[in-house]
Symmetry: C2
Subunit: 453 residues, 2 copies
Amino acid sequence: MLERFLGPRRVRQIHRAARNGTVTFLCLFLTVVVLRGTIGAGKFGTPEQDFNELRDHLYSRGRRVEPHRVLEEAQPETESDNQSNNYATFDITKILRDDEPEEKPDPSKPYSLGPKISDWDEQRSEWLKNNPQFPNFIGPNKPRVLLVTGSSPKPCENPVGDHYLLKAIKNKIDYCRLHGIEVFYNMALLDAEMAGFWAKLPLIRKLLLSHPEIEFLWWMDSDAMFTDMAFEVPWERYKDHNFVLHGWNEMVYDQKNWIGLNTGSFLLRNSQWALDILDAWAPMGPKGKVRDEAGKILTRELKDRPVFEADDQSAMVYLLAKEREKWGSKVYLESAYYLHGYWGILVDRYEEMMENYHPGLGDHRWPLVTHFVGCKPCGKFGDYPVERCLRQMDRAYNFGDNQILQMYGFEHKNLGSRRVKRVRNETSNPLEVKDELGLLHPAFKAVKVSTSS
Amino acid sequence: MLERFLGPRRVRQIHRAARNGTVTFLCLFLTVVVLRGTIGAGKFGTPEQDFNELRDHLYSRGRRVEPHRVLEEAQPETESDNQSNNYATFDITKILRDDEPEEKPDPSKPYSLGPKISDWDEQRSEWLKNNPQFPNFIGPNKPRVLLVTGSSPKPCENPVGDHYLLKAIKNKIDYCRLHGIEVFYNMALLDAEMAGFWAKLPLIRKLLLSHPEIEFLWWMDSDAMFTDMAFEVPWERYKDHNFVLHGWNEMVYDQKNWIGLNTGSFLLRNSQWALDILDAWAPMGPKGKVRDEAGKILTRELKDRPVFEADDQSAMVYLLAKEREKWGSKVYLESAYYLHGYWGILVDRYEEMMENYHPGLGDHRWPLVTHFVGCKPCGKFGDYPVERCLRQMDRAYNFGDNQILQMYGFEHKNLGSRRVKRVRNETSNPLEVKDELGLLHPAFKAVKVSTSS
């Protein structure tokens, strides 16, 4: 998420106070939950609702705040030697400072993502008809998908942050290459009013309208990684839906829980409906007074939401809960697999997964996506201990990377190691080798073969 | 380049000594060259040979050395608070240290990239026949291409290095998305003996053999960026060739100049011939005595080569010059456009290019690739002043990025700025808008449309 554009955090005190009082409660609750979990194992999918509720309870204690300053405000370092070849003493702020002031938006005009369009479905289908060389379906049951992600154009405040952004994009490139999905990595702030997590809205609208050939746009946060390289999204399941997010109906519509769904990884169908929901979503986003005031409304209206400015996720929970009849039938809250998987309940189980399961399941047995919410490796301060976050991000990366490496006969020495070892010898008949997961030439990547010449 | 795996540098003294004595010589030479350049402007293409020779002369003064230590050898920092959420005080070396010693190769066995294969063309064409859903041509005159690049799995020694790797991969993702090319980002060292620039050889061989559907593999260094988003490689030109590199016949075959060609960006056709040349190329690579001794041979045999261990580029010049009759007919040394463009002679002219030319030319007027040889932003020490390198890398990135942004109605405020400004208003009829460069739906990305239903 582009949290680095946001203002100061507000909930650290709440966080600490709540943590103490929570411990006792947690022990009791955990006992009950484990008993229930053992007795009623339930079907495969994402874990039972109450177990998640426990995690969510922990998670909700101020875990989504963005406290850090942007780079321009950092104290400039001492003057370095302009002729120096030495990067270690080089003051990067000297090059990167952008001194022009931003233009101020007109406060009297309500925010708009762009001119209202009411006939996008018609415009789009006309275009598709006239441009058969850019089809919106690239295979049987295979829509053209664009995966969109991004990060700030500035170097991370934290020196290793960019390294983790690099690994995360390599991870996404790998998954997308296997699955015939294109990638768009954004590093431009298109609308200064919609900075931070809200920056995805103008970007998404722009891409949908520029690329009518895209059937689904898949937004994915920079702190989310693919951990199941073999799992193909069940596109057919969503043929009557336009918006797919990980979440639970009860937690959104009944509880209005601010983490009843997650906007860190979602699918949006290129459609009039998408333009409409983007327009309905955007009003809480403009930074400053609008976003601050909207934040207060969201904290008041949603369950467990801490105090901070409006974020896109809370705003979507609020929108769906308030206008269910308008949007609900086209929104699929998916919990059968981890379109978004909260890292806290996954990362310690990777070895157990490798022992008992296999890629292709996408769910709690082998999560499609592990999402490092709250870690914020790019910023100066995360919501979790740094060592825990980085170590687990390395493990998640290696867990996913192993599935790529095994195609080529290698794997990481262990989940904590950068180094790889050979697990399959070279051969003079490489085409007789089948990689275990069948990822070298997977069905979901095959092109349509015309049956007539 | 994966220079970070290499040993200590050797030529800094040569560099400084030579620099002094060179100045006078340069002034005289420059006068002569400018006169010749003005009188004989020549055809469009990459600049005249002698002008390049001057640049090369400068370039060759020890500009390809890798002096820095790897991360494990860094002094460990003081013990940081394990519970700290503060990235600034966190000691990354504690997580990333990989303490297992590498296995030592058997010194009595000559190095081999893998078991000899002699019938790859037959194996491959059989596979392609049996797998029409994975064709090696994805459009008329459009081979399936895999662009391969990569960097070390370790964080850069220099804090901003990873940020530049991130921008460079975004840049490649953009070009490749427009041109229907897939990307493979490598962060695994497959063979410890072939570390550093040689790491690409085992990787390339592995990818060719695993993916018979790939027609061309395009290797591109991590410090090279696309600066012409509209230029499509003239694939037809190479129908009778298997290896395309930027370079000049005279400088390789006649002069044996170590920079007569560049291995930072090249095309290699998936073929028996490719496996053979990889096998012929590899022997100078194994690190240690072999690579050191080979380096001495290369310095002795090639023109202007400084003293350092064998590098893949020098080795290829040597191989081609020595065995021209064996390989030469299938090698295309391309100088009509910048498949590789040395940054030093390009980056100061971007504004002039924007004033006088347009994307799609690929040559000195609008270079396809700007390659930051010698900058080494990931390491501690480059061959050029740090500020010059980083500032120019930002400009090159923005120059290329503008061509992507213009598709969506934006551009960077100036070549030195991260910030973008709108240059085309939103409209309610987005499909009537044609982006100037025609990159939204370019012909080279269209799929084959079957004429029969």
